[in-house]
């Protein structure tokens, strides 16, 4: 098909660069600079979709972000599919592939459309609330069919081939919109020296100048536009972003700009480039110059393809060199709309009539219309469009002065395009994002931005100023004001001279009357994408949905992907009329981000896949990988979980690791434990306040285990803290809790006890920590350490010493989480791998065996040692754990948690308490998380006693062991409890001491 609607000259397209693209399986031609919409119109394509509810044919209505119908699926490959692309905003490129997103089986014959005709009357707003209820079990069946009709485009089925990035920026002035007002504002601000970002959603800056008939300084606006852009390009402190939509205005003048960097070039971004970029901008001052959206007029069958916004028709003619038909009927409530008739006539096509809804408009526009010989029908309106698949005629009738009713006979004029202008609605969206309510102005028949706490100025049409001269003037004023407020000296800039016709008063008309009342008239569409009609809105208000939010939600008005840009104001006005209220009384709805839809990937940026969250590795990580370790995620850490040998099951590996440790020697990479260096003369006092036990007398060279509780008395972390010097301690925390504990310490120091002299610093990453445990650990250490006296009485349990290990300066702690003789060797992290390998060099003869977190868990459970966060859960205090030995109640300072654990509920006798559990069958391992009951046969809901917190098979003991919470457990030693399983079986277990091995602690004291 040739481009039958392409004018032989004019427009801003590049006729030297033809482009071929695919729509709905057919090939079409266009030019660089075309949007998908302009190219389809050039090719005479009328029907681009089917309506969602009634299946009616739909055509292109608009030329920008407000387009509701031309919503396409884009993408030549699976990985480049994009759903719901607005054809009016997508530039064509060679090889572009697009499909309509609605209409089944095809655009020509739509099954839903046929059904829509038959059943359309059965589908008033909210019909789904009123039916599909019987029988109860059938909703799922109904829903399956309802869901079949859901959605527009489709998601890709494979991961995205492209990448996205973020750019953080600060600027003095951010100007939103590069129309005449925005360009003036940017120019004025730039001349002061202020840093300026000017962002516009279109491919080319200019806004309405790109299709304006007005003259600036006696010439077409192109000259002024060119000069302005050239000057802006010359400033290093100015960025002009095109294809860049400011989609969100957030608190404290933070705005996001969604820049599409390659969507106009190809399906996929060029290799190595980001497809789209989010600019995260903190602006001192913002100038909103977002313009306005034209309102279509609401009349019967106004959704027929060929019904278009007047300004869109002008845009297609003047900007793209496309005239979308041959015979135009224009209906307007205002003078501005006349321009479309002039543009149409200038393109060499027939203007059938200009239908002006005002009774006696008289002014320069009417003069020019007359001079051009146009048929002017005043006090009339198009009450209905005629046609099947597209517009073939307009039914015109006289109406009264306030647009309430038809006053005379109708006549039908043949036409193929029916343009309408119902006036303009300022694009107030961004100003509303931070909670500001827009304000209605009767004089401009629209809402303008209301009061805001943001540092925001407005200029041009968004503030109700529609004349070009006014936009340029306001832009300059706002640009200077913003720059001055941002601290730059004022540089006066004169506004250029504009030749434009003066406009007369417009008429407020939101729904054209019909011969029949609204409920019986042909469908008068308000929101095309959601198929909401004027009758639906009236019905909603009749049914009692009187708040505008109710009307919206009940009818779904404004819930489409254009978010009501086209229809919301008309809809509100219709609702207001129906309730005999004014528009401001009815109120407006709140606009929220995004202004137009934004790609998930662009919002996520680079924080995906590998970069979703940092991975933390210990210094010995390469060794673990090399030796086949399986890893466990603990916080951000990758910790070795266990080290299976070839052919081993997990349990076999654990059994081997556990036995080797108890029989000879095992080694654990414990580097991930949090380490906090604490110094200051009051460090000791501070420790006494945040730990439950005593710290006053801990001598230099000694270590102590401590429990940390919240003010509610519940355990939240634990660890060993060592006294390095009189005023110097090293605290260890759980691996996942390190950051939280450090903040906790700082919080209490800074907010409660600033008088204490104490300093905290994280040293977790500074040290590599390797814990060797087992009867041969002293022998091994002795081979590598000759400057510490390792004698059992010289270097006692819970002592630490400074020395060298394998020639590397080290702190060695004689502490044990396994109950074995054990040394924890800490060296500077970058020596960690070296020392670790030295230990293996010397340890081979002792069968030195690496073990991971799972074996660590088993070995500690054999000893009844808790893991904070596994055996505790935020509702367990030290007494519940049987750890009263770790609580020193008579400390002079009422330590954190002391008062909390004395509350009435915390001193109950029958709290859940941590006990040991032995299954009746020693081979059966209780599943962690199993819930205990006294009687497994009781009816549900059962009375539960507590859950299994830790449970393992212990190779050393030759049986399973477990720890768990049991209500009143300390008083129930020897009792049997039952654990019903999900498969219906029941596991029996006996309550016992949680210390299964070496209760006297002899093994660690050798």
């Amino acid at each position: 098909m040739t481009q039958i609607n392409r004018l032989s000259s004019g427009g801003r397209i590049d006729r030297e660069t033809p482009i071929r693209f695919v729509f709905n399986g057919r090939h079409y031609g266009g030019y660089r600079g075309d949007t998908l919409a302009s190219a389809l119109l050039a090719n005479g394509v009328k029907v681009v979709g089917r309506s969602f509810k009634y299946g009616r044919p739909r055509g292109i209505v608009a030329a920008g972000a407000e387009e509701p119908n031309a919503i396409f699926q884009l993408g030549a490959e699976e990985s480049t599919q994009v759903p719901n692309v607005r054809a009016t905003q997508q530039e064509i490129f060679e090889g572009l592939v697009s499909r309509p997103t609605s209409g089944w089986p095809g655009l020509g014959f739509d099954l839903m459309g046929a059904a829509g005709k038959l059943f359309g009357r059965m589908l008033p707003p909210g019909f789904y609330y009123k039916t599909f209820m019987f029988p109860q079990s059938f909703w799922e069946v109904y829903e399956k069919y309802i869901r079949k009709a859901a959605g527009l485009g489709r998601s890709p089925r494979v991961p995205d081939a492209d990448i996205y990035d973020h750019l953080n920026q600060h600027t003095d002035v951010l100007v939103v919109g590069a129309g005449p007002a925005g360009l003036s504002a940017a120019l004025a601000a730039a001349r002061t020296g202020a840093r300026v970002i000017l962002a516009d959603e279109q491919a080319e800056p200019g806004g309405s100048l790109l299709y304006s008939r007005d003259l600036i300084d006696g010439e077409a606006p192109d000259r002024w536009l060119h000069n302005t852009l050239t000057e802006l390009a010359g400033y290093e402190h100015v960025q002009v972003l095109t294809r860049a939509t400011v989609n969100g205005y957030h608190d404290h003048n933070f705005l996001t700009i969604h820049e599409r960097r390659s969507d106009h070039l190809s399906d996929r971004a060029p290799e190595g480039q980001a497809r789209q970029r989010m600019h995260r901008v903190r602006a001192h001052w913002v100038v909103l110059a977002t313009g306005a959206h034209e309102r279509p007029l609401v009349f019967g069958h106004n959704d027929l393809p060929g019904c278009m916004l007047a300004s869109a028709v002008s845009t297609y003619i003047r900007q793209y060199g496309v005239v979308p038909g041959r015979r135009l009927v224009l209906m307007t409530t205002n003078d501005y709309g006349y321009r479309t008739a002039f543009d149409w006539q200038d393109s060499g096509h027939e203007v059938v009539a200009v239908v002006d809804t005002r009774q006696n408009p008289e002014g320069p526009y009417q003069e020019e219309a007359r001079a051009r010989g146009l048929t002017l029908m005043r006090g009339c309106a198009v009450i209905e469009a005629k046609g099947g698949q597209q517009v073939t005629g307009a039914v015109i009738a006289p109406i009264d002065a306030d647009g309430g009713r038809v006053t005379g006979a109708t006549r039908v004029l043949a036409c193929d395009t029916l343009a309408s202008s119902g006036g303009w609605s300022p694009a107030v969206h961004l100003s509303c994002h931070t909670g500001s309510r827009p304000v209605w102005r009767d004089d401009i028949i629209g809402f303008v931005p209301g009061e805001t706490v943001q540092r925001q100025l407005v200029a041009g049409a968004v503030d109700g100023t529609y004349s070009l001269a006014g936009c340029l003037r306001e832009g300059l004023r706002a640009g200077v004001e913003a720059a001055v407020k941002a601290g730059y000296p004022s540089v006066p800039t004169a506004a250029p001279k504009v030749n434009e016709l003066t406009e007369g008063e417009a008429m407020a008309l939101f729904c054209v009357p019909h011969l029949k009342r609204t409920s019986r008239a042909p469908k008068q569409f308000v929101d095309f994408q959601t198929d909401v009609t004027a009758a639906a809105i009236e019905l909603a208000t009749r049914e009692g949905f009187e708040s505008i939010e109710h009307v919206k939600r009940y009818t779904a008005m404004g819930f489409g992907t254009d978010q009501g840009k086209l229809g919301n104001i008309n809809g509100m006005a219709i609702a207001a009329r129906s309730m005999n209220k004014t528009i401001p009384e009815t109120g407006t709805t709140v606009f929220r981000p995004n202004y137009t839809p934004v790609t998930f990937g662009a919002i996520a940026g680079r924080h995906c896949d590998e970069l979703f969250d940092p991975k933390r590795y210990t210094a010995m990580h390469p060794w673990h990988v090399e030796h086949g370790a399986k890893f466990e995620d603990v916080g951000q850490w990758k910790r070795p979980w266990y080290y299976p040998k070839p052919g081993e099951t997990m349990q076999q590996a654990l059994d081997r690791e556990c036995r080797a440790t108890r029989e000879s020697i095992g080694i654990l990479d414990a580097s991930t434990l949090g380490k906090i260096d604490i110094q200051g003369k009051d460090a000791r006092e501070f420790l006494g306040r945040v730990y439950t036990n005593a710290w006053a007398k801990l001598a230099v060279g000694k270590c102590r285990y401590g429990l940390m509780c919240g003010e509610d008395g519940m355990v939240f972390d634990d660890g060993v803290t060592s006294c390095l010097g009189e005023q110097h301690f090293l605290m260890t925390t759980t691996s996942g809790g390190a950051a939280r504990v450090l903040e906790w310490l700082e919080f209490y120091h800074q907010t409660e006890w600033p008088e204490l002299e104490v300093y905290f610093n994280t040293v977790t990453d500074h040290w590599a920590t390797m814990s060797i445990a087992g009867p041969n650990s002293r022998k091994l250490l002795a081979e590598l350490c000759d400057d510490i006296d390792l004698d059992r009485d010289a270097f006692r349990f819970m002592d630490w010493r400074q020395g060298t290990v394998a020639g590397v300066p080290a702190r060695v702690f004689r502490i044990s989480f396994t109950g074995e003789l054990s040394f924890e060797i800490n060296v500077q992290a970058n020596y960690g791998l070296y020392v670790w390998e030295k230990l293996f060099e010397h340890g081979a003869k002792y069968n030195l065996t690496p073990y991971g977190t799972e074996t660590m868990h088993i070995l500690r459970a054999e000893k009844g040692f808790i893991i904070a966060g596994q055996d505790t859960d935020g509702a367990v205090h030290p007494y519940d754990l049987g750890m009263s030995w770790a609580v020193k109640e008579d400390k002079p300072f009422s330590f954190i948690g002391k008062r909390g654990m004395k509350r009435a509920d915390c001193v109950r006798e029958d709290r859940k308490q941590l006990v040991g559990l032995k299954t009746r069958n020693p081979k059966v391992v209780l599943p962690e998380g199993a819930q205990a009951v006294n009687d497994p046969n009781q009816p549900k809901p059962m009375t539960m006693l507590g859950h299994v917190t830790s449970s393992y098979y212990s190779a050393n003991l030759g049986r399973s062991i477990a720890m768990g919470l049991i209500r009143d457990g300390f008083n129930r030693m020897g009792d049997t409890v039952y654990y019903p399983q999900t498969d219906g079986s029941v596991i029996e277990a006996e309550i016992c001491s949680p210390i299964f091995l070496d209760p006297k602690g002899e093994r660690q004291n050798v």
């Binding site: 719901n84 009357r121 009123k130 209820m133 959605g151 708040s547 939600r553 979703f612 466990e632 596994q870």
Partner: protein, 417 residues
């Protein structure tokens, strides 16, 4: 009450839908009511409905400062589930679940309650321990609940990336088949219509500016638009604004109001049948009958009444969604919004008497309010009717924050929302 049915639709279609009755009246407030309910959201309307239906108390006013169902009822992600860890919470939410089942028929209003199941993913070994603990507790409490492994999750949601090479691979999930979603607006409207039909006065655009009390007992409210309205008992169900109402009554609550954000994609063809939630990577997602992907995450950390939160929360949420579903990267976000959630320190609600006699509060539902709507209304109605807490509401007294008997869903379950 006009009966809704497919036949009714047909009948009204013949008369161009000109004769539908109003869904509710727009009454002038009376001088005095037996019970005043402050707050016309889902919970308040459900309370009024059950007061009339179960307790025969129909001289009831619901006073709403905006429009019915315009607060958190209109701003949530519509998830309904009852798989809570602690007995007290589980029994309350399961009570709600049982009421959800059959509620459309009871109210003669299609709430589109769709039991498409909810998955709570586990990504670490501790997540999985918590999941098993919760599933076991749920089952013994009579709640349908299953623990799935990676393969089980993959079979339910074939489009999710469950491979081991993700940053936090999916190790498994808990699965509640009876859980699902409901149409949020319909819940408010259905309860409102049914309550109105039994004589409850629904008074919209009426803001309470003071709670009137004499000798420590509440006797009414002062409103901005309609002056003083007296009531023998007053139930306050105002979610995020609970702190403001408590202040009027002269006390503080263990509640803080935070922004909770959510967002939707543009509508796309059906691709996700279940609700998927992940606490570990911080995001949850379902697909509505309209085709929107409905997405949410955790609360913003600061107090806020602005019905909006901070942008990084949206970024983190979508990062999580793209991590779980890399194929959604090219799908586009349409709209975001925020609610004001009243959070308690233990992530459980307050259904309670207060220091002021005859004044009761139902608040603190945090991120879990919508799913509890019928249950919350049901037990609160009983509480208001009898003047003392319903059996299921007893553990949720505000005084638990004195004696320490918290129901710590926050610390324990590792499951929010």
């Amino acid at each position: 009450m006009q009966k809704y049915s497919g036949f009714g639709l047909l009948k009204h279609a013949l008369t161009y839908h000109e004769n539908w009755q109003r869904v509710w009246r727009s009454p002038k407030p009376k001088k005095k009511y037996d019970v005043i309910i402050i707050g016309g959201g889902g919970h308040g309307l459900a309370t009024a409905y059950y007061l009339a239906k179960e307790h025969g108390i129909t001289n009831v006013a619901v006073i709403e400062k905006g429009y019915l169902g315009g607060g958190n009822t209109a701003r949530n992600t519509t998830i309904v589930r009852s798989n809570y860890l602690w007995d007290e919470a589980a029994l309350l939410y399961e009570h709600a679940m049982k009421l959800w089942e059959g509620l459309s028929q009871e109210l003669n209003y299609n709430l589109m309650f769709s039991q498409r199941g909810v998955l709570n993913l586990g990504h670490t070994l501790q997540d999985m321990r918590d999941i098993h603990r919760r599933v076991n507790a749920n089952r013994l409490n009579g709640i349908d609940s299953f623990a799935l492994d990676t393969q089980g999750v993959q079979e339910l949601v074939p489009i999710m990336d469950c491979s081991a090479n993700r940053r936090y691979p999916v190790l498994g999930a808990s699965w509640q088949p009876r859980a699902g979603v409901a149409r949020h607006d319909a819940v408010a409207w259905g309860f409102a219509r049914a309550a109105d039909a039994m004589g409850v006065d629904l008074i919209q655009q009426c803001e309470v500016i003071d709670v009137l009390a004499e000798d420590g007992a509440a006797r009414g409210v002062e409103t901005r638009q309609h002056g003083v309205i007296l009531g023998d008992r007053i139930g306050c169900v105002v979610a995020g604004n609970s702190g403001v109402l408590a202040k009027m009554a002269g006390f503080e609550l263990p509640v803080e109001s935070h922004p909770l954000q959510a967002l939707v994609s543009e509508p796309i063809r059906p691709i996700l049948d279940t609700v998927v939630m992940s606490n570990h990577v911080h995001g949850y997602i379902s697909q509505s009958d309209k085709g929107d992907l409905v997405i949410g995450a955790g609360i913003d950390g600061y107090n806020g009444y602005g019905q909006r939160g901070s942008y990084p929360t949206i970024e983190h949420t979508l990062q999580a969604i793209v991590e779980l579903f890399p194929m959604f990267s090219r799908v586009r976000m349409n709209r975001q919004w925020g609610g004001i959630v009243d959070t308690c320190p233990d992530a459980c609600p307050i259904i309670s008497e207060t220091p002021v006699e005859n004044l009761f509060f139902n608040c603190g539902w945090g991120t879990g309010g919508f799913k509890a709507t019928p249950g919350s209304g049901h037990v609160f109605a009983a509480t208001l009717a009898r003047g003392e807490a319903h059996e299921l509401a007893k553990p949720f007294s505000m005084y638990r924050f004195y004696d320490g008997s918290l129901v710590d869903e926050h610390g324990a379950a590792g499951v929010a929302h």
